[in-house]
Symmetry: C2
Subunit: 224 residues, 2 copies
């Protein structure tokens, strides 16, 4: 059957289109450009897709598939909340930086051109991811709070000067369990998703440095 060839050529078109969209931007890339890069005519390209919008939507939808498969999937298999969060940070960074998955960058940058109906579908999937991360952070905080209560009860009674920023890292008996999970989730997503704006593969800040740095920052701030 040609069923497999069909979806194969569709996916190859999506891969090429995603590469061009990432390099030149969605609006600046014409259907002619996409067709030419595939050694196709524009008419031939329209045999596989109905519109430029559909291509962009499929790219973004595939990007969400990728993050669920490469980030959420492996993370769900882990038992320890803190390790889940550490792994999510690492895998999410790797997915954003992966030169093979340009769909992610396109999804991060090109949401405006999508027609409202399609955009809402993508946003729904994005929100699910945010909620997952938000709950995960809340779990990690709760676990850390529980652990700290079983610890030495020696508080740090002095230091009224500038230690108020990290004085409650080990909350003794108070209910403070850290920053709001929602704010933390958005902050984490921001620092990772923003990477594509400045990252240069030849730069001094490489991917393997980035993962521990960002992880430490999330768990302990700039002094970690």
């Amino acid at each position: 059957m040609a069923r497999e060839a069909l979806i194969d050529s569709r996916q190859e078109i999506l891969r090429t289109a995603a590469r061009l969209f990432q390099q030149r931007g969605y609006d600046a890339t014409s259907m002619n450009d996409v067709a030419a890069a595939l050694k196709l005519s524009k008419g031939g390209l329209y045999h596989h897709f109905q519109s430029k919008d559909e291509i962009l939507f499929e790219i973004m939808n595939h990007a969400m598939d990728l993050t669920e498969e490469r980030v959420l999937g492996p993370v769900r298999g882990l038992a320890n909340p803190e390790e889940r969060l550490r792994t999510l940070i690492r895998l999410h960074i790797e997915v954003v930086l992966s030169p093979r998955d340009r769909e992610i960058t396109v999804m991060l940058h090109e949401n405006h051109p999508l027609p409202p109906v399609l955009r809402k579908r993508i946003n729904t999937r994005k929100k699910e991811y945010v909620h997952f991360l938000e709950n995960l952070i809340a779990q990690v905080q709760k676990e850390a709070q529980r652990d700290s209560q079983m610890e030495t009860h020696k508080a740090t009674p002095k230091d009224a000067h500038k230690k108020d920023a990290h004085k409650e890292i080990h909350p003794t008996h108070s209910v403070s369990a850290g920053v709001s999970p929602r704010a933390a989730a958005f902050a984490l997503l921001g620092m990772i998703n923003w990477i594509y704006q400045w990252y240069k593969p030849e730069g001094a800040l490489q991917a393997q440095n980035l993962v521990p740095q960002f992880t430490d920052l999330v768990f302990g701030g700039i002094f970690a």
Copy 2:
């Protein structure tokens, strides 16, 4: 003289254009749209600007002026490094969220359409900002390290389990002063600059909540 009226109308055009660019995107906004919003004809609009590129460049350049004036300026007047960093976080968030300064959002999102020569001019100014923040973070770390050495020399000798993430918040005698300032700077810029992607003024997460949350996160991680 009509000199003031000239720059006045230019700035009014820039304000309107920035609003439209932010709402619909740069490519999706035609010069006709901009002119119509100003109750002008397209020809009349081209009396004030040579090209659409020039308008975008001026918007971004003005955005950089704004950040230097409203963020860097006030911050430079402060003596204490930690307070400088705290203030920078607050002011930067406020500038990004200010509904009056749409230029910032346009600058954050629309760098692709700029011709290379103009884009480099903007990127140079952006890099200066990053360097400033990078140095500021390094100063804060150094000061914290110095302070911690004057403190009690009681280290935390136990906790080999999961405290390794924030075990060096108070580095006793080691040279570790936290995450690399460069990585921390990019992370901070990411979490703040990404806000425009998800922030809704009517949402639960308001600006006044955001500032302390993000500040705590930067200084102490998610447990702060």
